[in-house]
């Protein structure tokens, strides 16, 4: 199996899903939010101490909502790919030496 080729294919699919298909996502609340609204504890949701740079999957100060969301998806795909690869590479290296 050519692992690199599989990785590239999966990455391209991920970029399409995160950068384009995500624009079609349902805006309805997810299961937990829906239950929180229904049972009356949604107001407990609080802003955390950490200010995320790209809140709610929209790159700030991009005028087009679609473009802001698309860029956020592409950014997330690239970062998770790099971090996931890095962690897996570090673990398989340390597994061999130790």
């Amino acid at each position: 199996m050519n692992a690199r080729r599989v990785a590239v294919e999966l990455l391209v699919i991920s970029l399409v899903v995160g950068g384009a298909l995500s624009l079609l996502a349902s805006a309805h609340p997810d299961g937990l939010e829906f239950v929180a609204e229904h049972l009356g504890f949604i107001d407990r949701a609080a802003e955390g101490a950490w200010a995320a740079p790209v809140p709610d999957y929209a790159v700030p100060s991009v005028p087009s909502e679609a473009l802001a969301g698309s860029l956020a998806g592409i950014l997330g795909v690239v970062v998770t790919f790099a971090v996931g690869w890095g962690i897996a590479a570090a673990l398989s290296r340390s597994g061999k030496t130790g």
Binding site: A3, A7, L10, L15, H28, P29, G31
Partner: protein, 209 residues
């Protein structure tokens, strides 16, 4: 089902952080045995795919939505310990970069999706394959139960925090995620069947471990 800041009390989120961190430590050790040489890029790509798929909410019933969690998908393609680490990575990046899931609630989200979700999926999948259920159905069942189990864990944490009474929150979370889990099962089975057709080595070799 990413829990935001504010839903959990201090004892619950702090306890979840301690438990989650301990399990991540165990997973980091155990994942080494699962990681073959040269697979790191595929692990990264699976992380990226799960991140992307989690952005795509599909409508469920009236007024609510769900998205793929991906615990079962990661477990059958990468092995459960690697799956837990990958899911943890996705959850950490979602909280840090996108404010999806609170930082205080990160430990609980990791417990629910990266450990309860992954190992429930893996356990049911292995059990069903052993009794000769066709693989794609075993994966679908594992995916469905993983979502329901993760939602039950989430409900228990909310009840433990005094955020909602146990009975109603348990019934509501498990009830909705019984439906959302059908989407999880369909997408997971579809993706695995697709991977099995275009890249049979990928799914077969990794599922049998």
């Amino acid at each position: 089902m990413h829990i935001p800041d504010g839903f959990l009390d201090v004892k619950t989120w702090a306890g979840s952080w301690v438990a989650g961190a301990g399990l991540v430590g165990v997973a980091a050790t155990r994942a080494r045995a699962e990681l073959g040489s040269g697979r790191a890029p595929v692990v990264g790509a699976m992380a990226a795919f799960v991140f992307a798929a989690q952005m795509v909410n599909f409508p469920v019933g009236v007024g609510t939505s769900g998205h793929l969690v991906g615990a079962a998908l990661l477990a059958v393609t990468l092995g459960p310990w690697t799956a837990s680490l990958v899911m943890t990575t996705v959850l950490v990046l979602q909280a840090l970069l996108f404010a999806d899931g609170g930082l205080t609630a990160l430990g609980a989200n990791v417990l629910n999706m990266a450990f309860v979700g992954v190992f429930v999926a893996w356990g049911l999948y292995r059990l069903l394959v052993r009794v000769r259920v066709p693989r794609v159905w075993a994966i679908a069942a594992g995916a469905w139960l993983s979502v329901v189990a993760a939602s039950v864990a989430c409900a228990l944490e909310l009840a433990l925090s005094g955020t909602a009474p146990l009975g109603p929150v348990l019934v509501a979370m498990a009830g909705w995620h019984t439906l959302i889990g059908v989407g999880e099962a369909a997408i997971t089975a579809g993706v695995v069947a697709y991977l099995g057709r275009v890249r049979p080595q990928l799914v077969e070799g990794w599922c049998d471990r």
